[in-house]
Structure formats: structure tokens, C-alpha cells
Symmetry: C2
């Protein structure tokens, strides 16, 4: 039965997933078309809607005092805007030819089909849980959802020991290591690579390594976890590698996330190499006029390498939602792609990257030169000037900007935005040297650090002609 029969001109938009991408899409579609024209039904299997997953480490670390502050909009607020948001309701199946989804109320167990005219898939990502002995033991935590964060805080509150092991040293791993140090834990980070933050080149990651050990975090590099040991109570007691065991009262997994696309896969929708849904520029699932997808469950086009990537980041999810809602509401908008910008504040350092790392450039078949400089965030004579290291990649011969990485003190991270826009515009590093950036002693030396790097990159390009 296709329930769209008999509903006249009123269309139904179904949204799977009640977080950033899904609810942005629903909200924007509602702004475009009133309830009389467009019914919107959204399913969320968890207990929270529209929250900032990026804020979880700050909540765990104590900088953000209260979980509810991470919630941008409650289910009640969404419903007040004419969005039928059904919490604790999990979608189990998408019937693409039949234009309907099957959902289960997790409280009652009741299942039912809901038909759609347009569908939005915003199922997000799930943290990688390695298939190792003991990974499911109490005390081993991922930190992807607010529920995860609450579970971790409950463990911390109920555990006397103060030894924490963080597995993985990407953004989440490093942020969680710092959060646990702030809570008075002795923290060991077990990292597969030689340096933390593999989103940076190793020479820049080394600066983060130094800051982490400076905070008292124990770094175990080049180490692969082989098992999670448990004690007599069944709880986690240690993390084992090939060479050693690290006692642990609590373990946090920070080894990345993957697109949550099992529903989409079962429905026969197109997935990329990273298991993310593939969409066109209007965020429609390729080959499916009435199905949109966005947020952490899709792959996006990297405008610098020309390749598809998976990047789980709230700012992209919000933009996707905005585009989807506009298109689903009868308007027109596109998401052209990303340049791979990410910023982070950890262990007293600001860390930023955009564009390609050295290995990304090689993978994309690009030849490049690099330039690394040290500069300051303010005029040298102005109080509070902090130092920063800026690394820049430029294409060999053409001099086109390929990427920038920055590690430093206050005022370092957001400078990467200049490079993000320059990458989007396809600028050369030579053109960048004359960019008209804001200059005043409290904000910058006369040559902004990004321009100092560009000047050095120009020389490197000339030397490699």
C-alpha cells in the first residue's frame, strides 16, 4: 500500500536520523513549505536530537558543565515547528521501489511502515570498535553520541581507580586524553602511528606529541592493541599490545568513525570505497531523484584532490542539511565539496589543517614542494604574541596551493581559513603573498604567518622548476 495515495497534493518528507544533518534538512524544508503542503516525519533511535557531538570531550573534561547545553534543539522544539519527530524509533528497512520505510518503536517494540514522497538519510557514523578480545567489557567506551558520553561519565563516577588508557590519537583521542587529564586521571595514549594527529604530516604531529607529554600524558607510539584484559569483576583492567600491558580503570576508544550505512546498503543504494553514500551536488543519492543523504553517512568530494572522502564533522552535516532541506522543499542549492579543513584545541595548542597532506598529494598524483616557517600571532612587540609553525604545500611548477597545516598558540588555528578559501579559489602561493589580510599589531605581524609561509613556498616552487 502506498500511503501517498489519497493524500492529495500534500507531500510527505521522511527523515532518518534526528541529529545535525537530518534535523537541519527538516527545519529548512519546513521554512520552505508550510505543514499544509509538506508533512515531515523524522525518526531518531536515540534519546537526543540536534546535539553537538563535537562538544562531548568538553563536557567530559568539565569545560561544559551540563549535557543539555550541547543540545541545540529539543524534540519538543522541533515538534512545535511542525516536524513530527519520533524519538527512540529505529528505522529497520528502506523499501526504495515502494517509497516507504519500516520503523520500530524501541519502547513498545511495535513496527510499522511509513511511506514517503521524499526521503532523507542522515544515519551518521559509528565509532570503530576493533574486533578484539574484551572490547565489549564494561569500562571500554566509545564517545560518538550523547548517550556514549553519559555512559563514560557514569563509569568515571563509579570507578575509584584513576588510570585511563586512550586508544588512538586522532582528534577525539587527543581531546579525550586532555579531558581525562583535566579530571585528574593518569592517562596513557596507545597510538598505532609514530606521532599523534595523523590528520597532520608527521613533522607537524611531532609538535602535538611534545605538548601531550608536556601535560603529563604517557605516549605509546607505533603500538597496536591486541586485547582488552578484564578483571575478576568482568570490567576492563588493562590494554594489551604485542609488547606490554597498560593497566586501565577506564578505556576510551578514539580510533575513528565509519559511515553508518547498513540500512542504505541493504536497500541497494550506492556506496563509495569508504562505505559512505554517494550523492550528486544537490545531495541526492546518485540515481535516486527522491532520496537525499547528508552528514556523517555520506562521502564528499575533495575539491583539491578530486577524490571522494569521508569526513565526519558537524559543520558539513549542517551545510548538507541546509542544501537538502532547500531542495526537498522545492528550492535549489548545492554542496560543491570540501577542502578538508579541521581545527582543534588540545593540550594548550591550536591545531589546524586544510587541503592535502604530503601523502594525500602523492595519492592524488600531485607533485609538490613544501615550506615550513615559524611566526607569531601578533606584532612581535605587542603583549601576548604567541608563536606558531605553518607548513604549506604547493604544486610543483604551477605553484597552486595544495594544503596548509598550523600548530601553535592562541590565534593559530583560525588562520587556516585563509588557506581554505584560497584552496577553494585555486589560488597560487604567489598570488597569496599579496593577499590583503587584516593587519594591526594586536592581530598579526605586518606579514601574516600564512603569507610568510606563502613567500617561502614561492621560493620552493621556483627552486623545483
Amino acid at each position: 500500500m502506498n500511503m501517498s495515495l489519497g493524500r492529495g497534493a500534500r507531500e510527505r518528507l521522511v527523515v532518518i536520523g534526528g541529529d545535525a544533518a537530518g534535523m537541519s534538512a527538516a527545519s529548512q524544508a519546513r521554512r520552505m513549505r508550510p505543514s499544509a503542503e509538506l508533512e515531515i516525519v523524522a525518526f531518531e533511535r536515540g534519546r537526543f536530537s540536534s546535539y553537538s557531538a563535537c562538544g562531548i570531550p568538553y563536557w567530559v573534561g568539565g569545560d561544559v558543565p551540563d549535557r543539555d547545553r550541547l543540545i541545540a534543539r529539543t524534540p519538543e522544539e522541533h515538534r512545535a515547528r511542525g516536524i513530527d519527530l519520533r524519538m527512540r524509533t529505529e528505522v529497520l528497512e528502506i523499501d526504495v521501489p515502494g517509497q516507504r520505510v519500516r520503523a520500530r518503536d524501541l519502547e513498545t517494540g511495535a513496527e510499522s511502515w511509513t511511506s514517503y514522497d521524499k526521503l532523507v538519510i542522515a544515519t551518521g557514523a559509528r565509532p570503530v570498535r576493533p574486533e578484539l578480545p574484551g572490547v565489549d567489557a564494561p569500562g571500554v567506551h566509545g564517545v560518538q553520541t550523547l548517550d556514549d558520553g553519559q555512559a563514560l561519565l557514569d563509569t568515571l563516577a563509579g570507578t575509584e581507580g584513576r588510570r585511563a588508557v586512550v586508544v588512538g590519537a586522532g582528534y577525539i583521542g587527543v581531546e579525550m586524553a586532555e579531558a581525562l587529564i583535566n579530571r585528574g586521571y593518569r592517562v596513557t595514549v596507545v597510538n598505532r602511528g609514530a606521532e599523534p594527529m595523523s590528520t597532520l604530516d608527521a613533522d607537524m604531529g611531532r609538535l602535538v606529541h611534545r605538548a601531550m607529554t608536556g601535560l603529563g600524558i604517557t605516549m605509546v607510539d607505533d603500538a597496536e592493541v591486541t586485547a582488552f584484559r578484564t578483571g575478576d569483576d568482568g570490567r576492563v583492567s588493562a590494554v594489551a599490545t604485542a609488547d606490554a600491558e597498560y593497566p586501565a580503570d577506564v578505556v576510551v576508544l578514539g580510533i575513528g568513525v565509519r559511515p553508518q550505512t547498513s540500512l542504505a546498503r541493504a536497500a541497494g543504494l550506492p556506496l563509495g570505497d569508504r562505505q559512505g553514500l554517494l550523492t550528486d551536488l544537490a545531495m541526492r543519492v546518485r540515481g535516486h531523484e527522491n532520496v537525499f543523504a547528508g552528514g556523517d553517512c555520506v562521502e564528499v568530494l575533495d575539491l583539491v584532490s578530486g577524490q571522494q572522502r569521508h569526513i565526519a564533522l558537524g559543520t558539513h552535516a549542517n551545510k548538507h542539511g541546509q542544501v537538502i532541506g532547500t531542495n526537498a522543499g522545492g528550492g535549489y542549492a548545492t554542496f560543491p565539496g570540501v577542502v578538508g579543513t579541521a581545527v582543534s584545541k588540545v593540550c594548550g595548542l591550536e591545531i589546524a589543517r586544510t587541503g592535502l597532506r604530503e601523502k594525500d598529494a602523492r595519492r592524488a598524483g600531485l607533485q609538490y614542494v613544501t615550506a615550513t616557517v615559524e611566526s607569531t600571532s601578533r606584532a612581535g612587540y605587542y603583549p601576548g604574541a604567541g608563536t606558531m609553525t605553518v607548513k604549506m604545500l604547493a604544486e610543483r611548477r604551477t605553484g597552486r596551493l595544495l594544503g596548509v597545516q598550523i600548530v601553535g598558540g592562541e590565534g593559530a588555528a583560525k588562520r587556516v581559513d585563509v588557506a581554505a578559501v584560497a584552496l577553494t579559489a585555486g589560488m597560487t602561493v604567489e598570488r597569496m603573498t599579496s593577499l590583503d589580510l587584516g593587519y594591526a599589531p594586536p592581530f598579526s605581524p605586518v606579514w601574516d604567518p600564512v603569507l610568510v609561509a606563502a613567500r617561502k613556498a614561492v621560493k620552493a616552487v621556483a627552486a623545483a622548476l
Copy 2:
């Protein structure tokens, strides 16, 4: 006599002006070519070389404790690099056909001619001194040079009264008003316009007005100074307008600067409507293969309006010098132009602008829409999030970005750089909405304030189609 005869292949580069543009040019030319190939002679009539004029308000205000910290490179350091920098030596005449300059040693009074193969004119700007009664009285100060700053500090040290009047409310006027408040003065600002910071539209300037009065600064708006009154000792005692007199123990002039181009004018070199030297993109004076000019004495191309402008700013002077030195040294570089970016930190506010104000757009023949939003510097839940107001101008119909103004708390000003690069690239506000800017809770809401403004500007463009 042409002194280049008999010097064989060794060329002489003569530089007029020993501050940012001139000494950057000299230093870069020296990097390009050794002393055996290129002799470099630089003339500076003042006592200081290569200093940060932009830092003077912070020195006067006490944030920078020591004058010498504003000096990037001393005359001795320049000489150690093979630049024959002659201090306290004023160039009185440029003989363009004869390729020589006449200079006077201000200590001895001796005059002599020096020939050149290539000439750099970097004579800077001079503060506007209105031709009003009493303007030359002791106690009335401009603040363009280090010497000016020292003279003002000497006046402050030697004066018991604590009443200061600042004439003009541009960057320098507002910065000096704050510096004097910080030194314990009662400060009155007499301003010709309705709002301070005429580099902003009035609706944005109003926010600065509020902050200034909040600091206890008395603002006299829409007021034209008619005279400077003097007391029995001949020193300034008050500032008069048509309506009132404002008692003053010290007066600071902050009513702008003009290109210092009397030498160039006398030599018959081409000047623009704002009396600045006109150059090509390689910073050669138009029509003169061997004469370069840069810094505060030239006009620059505004890439947004397509018109010539005069902008006195250290960061441009340094870039000009870099380009001139490269070209004078036999290399190739250009300065494509500016987009009009300026940032400032005054009275607890960060202030930024780039591109066109409303009146600039009208003057350039451009039709536009505006969008103004309030947003925050960090995620709302992250500690220390400050608010900011962002105003954006976009071209009618095309949606091309025309300008951005930002007034707000910490983290506001340097966000303007994103717009500066977008202007340089000719981006539309619609394309800006999907810019991949750095996002993390300590640095930005999921929608960066500049992108929030872009979203609103997109709607304004659509509404004005």
C-alpha cells in the same frame, strides 16, 4: 655629471625614505644581488628606520613599554647588510632626466647630488594638519612618526592637566583616545561625522560609539573644529567648534594622512586624484622604467571597485617594498592591488572591514543588498563565547560579495580575512555559504559568523532580483 659613468657594471639603487616600504625594497634588492653588483644608498630624514608606526598608539597607551621595541631594524643593522643608509639626510630634489637626487645632511647642512640607475620613492604620508588658528601651538600633536610619538609623550610628561581632546575619530583618533584614557586622562573626541570610524558604515560605527562612551570617552559628534585656543604661555588651552569650546591640556590630531609627494610632484612624476604616486603592477612609476614607488606615498588599485585609493598601512608598504626590491634586483613580482581590509582593536572591541562600504559601492556604480547578523565567536556552549555583528554587502543580481564589516568581541576581527580572500577571488555570497572553514567548539559555531551573514545575504539577493 652622471656619476653612473665609470662605475662599470655596478649599478646604484637609491632609496628615498628609510621606513617600511623603502627599507623592505632595499633589503630585498640586497638579497637578490650582492654589493659587488648593486650599490644601495638610502636617505632618511628622521632619526629612526624601519619602525612600526602602527604601534605608536600602544606605546603611548603603555601596552608597549619601550619605543625601541617598535624598531624592526636599526640603521646599523641595515648597514651591516650592505645598505648605505644615511640618517637625518633629506632629499630635496629629484632630477629625473639626470637620474640623480639632491640631498642635505640635516646635521651639517651640506648638500650633494647622488646619481642613480634605479630609484625608489618611499616618502610616506604626512598627517593632515588643518589650517586653523593655533594648530601649531605647543601641545597640539600629530602621531605619524616615532618622533611625533616621543614629542607627545614628552608633552604628557611635562603637563599637569589631565584633559585631552582628540580631533577626528578614525583608527588613529579612536586608538589615541583609548591610549589617553588608559593613561588617566579625561578624553573628549571631536568628530566631524555622526559616528566614529567612518571607514565603517554608520550603523556599524554606532557600535563603536557605544563602546567609546562606555569607557568614559566624551563624544562630540557632527562637530567641525574652528580654532585651537592658546593660553598665556602660548600652549594650547582649548579646542573650539562653532558651538562650544573644549578645554585641553593636550590635543591629538587624528584626522587622517595624505601622501607625501611634494618631491615627486616637483619632479613631474604622475600623481592621482588623492595626490599619491601612480604606479604599474610592478610598482614602477607610470612611464618611468627606472623609478619605483611604494608605501604610504602611492595610490593602489582597489580590486573591488576598480578605482584608485590611498591607504596608509604598514602591511601594504612591506608588500610594495618586497615587490620593488625583487624587480629592482632583476627579478619579477607584482602587487595586484587591495580589497581594503583593515582591522583594529579599540575600547574592548575588535573592528574589521574589507571591500566596499555602502557609499563606496554607490560611488563605484554598483547596486547592492545588505545583510546584518549577530553571531558568536565560539560554540554557544563553549566558555568565553563572545558576540559579534557582521554586515555583508553583495552585488544585486550577481550576488558577488562586495564587502564585510565586523564589530565584536574577541575572535571577531580576523574573521574578515575570509571575506578578503573571497573578494580577491570574486566569489558570490552563495558560494561562500559552503566554504569549508575551520570548525570546532573553541573556535566557531557550526556556522561561522561570516557564513551566517552569507546565508542572509543570499536571501537578500534573491529578494532583490
